[in-house]
Symmetry: C2
Subunit: 147 residues, 2 copies
DNA sequence: TTAAGTGCAAATCATTTGCATGGAT
DNA sequence: ATCCATGCAAATGATTTGCACTTAA
């Protein structure tokens, strides 16, 4: 598990202040073992500190994202989820049917990255993708056309 | 340019009705040469038919997407854009700095698709990605850290 | 005829913002 | 003492929905 302190120090080094709210937000993210939405974080922090306000969450998540401490991922559920930035990066496979999620490490995209750099002069951020599709179990049903 | 008729016939074949609204929506999409948001479509259709309502747009776009006639893409601008489904598929390279967009055809992702199928038993929809990064011109500035 | 589609207005809901207060440095 | 960060409440804005009316088939 990652520790909040490491990110708090990082923020301080970048010239930002260390506040209890930021600490609580980071603790919530570090203590979870997956993706959290802004609302998840609010719920968790409020168990200890009920007057906790949502603006701080959004502002802090923006800050953490900007500095690369967390990665936002949009799983197409109408809200963004956040996760501690991992080394190496990874991507998420999401089954459109059963919703099951799996992770793949960044290596899968290395050929793509190279090709884009070489042939298109484009330097992609292939950090954190949500890749939709069908898992093996649900694949059989995929062939049926939309209703 | 694609013609609305081909999609209207497609809808009819799937058991849906042909309405003037659907025709106007498809015409707007076909006549544009790129991505349109729901709001873009509303604006365009209202030039001819001012009482045109937004619900029809959202409902029709959902229908067209479900049948694979259009592809939605989220460029991270807070709204979804739609484009006629192209053969072959393509993806979009979006520069985070200058916003310039370029297209890459689906071929770039073939190795990824194969690997996911083979190693993960996962059948991805790699139809229409927005890939963020930096174009060659803006790449130089990328190394600077966030403010 | 009749179920599907539309128009309208209101609801949703994640995220953002203005501004006065508070607190980290 | 600064001025960055928070709390609150209101605003935003894309998308959705309920429902009565309309219309394509």
């Amino acid at each position: 598990m990652h520790h909040p302190t490491e990110y708090l120090q990082g923020l301080r080094q970048k010239g930002h202040r260390l506040t209890p709210q930021r600490e609580m937000i980071l603790s919530a993210i570090c203590e979870s073992n997956g993706h959290l939405t802004a609302d998840d974080i609010i719920t968790r922090v409020r168990k200890r500190y009920p007057q906790f306000n949502k603006s701080a969450v959004y502002r802090t998540l923006e800050l953490l994202t900007r500095h690369g401490f967390v990665n936002p991922t949009d799983f197409g559920q109408g809200c963004v989820t956040y996760e501690i930035h991992q080394h190496p990066h990874h991507h998420h496979l999401v089954c459109r049917k059963c919703g099951k999620m799996a992770e793949v490490d960044e290596g899968v995209f290395v050929p793509v990255e190279k090709k884009l750099r070489k042939d298109f002069n484009f330097f992609p951020d292939l950090d954190h993708f949500a890749i939709f599709g069908y898992c093996s179990k649900c694949q059989a049903a995929e062939k049926k056309s939309a209703r």
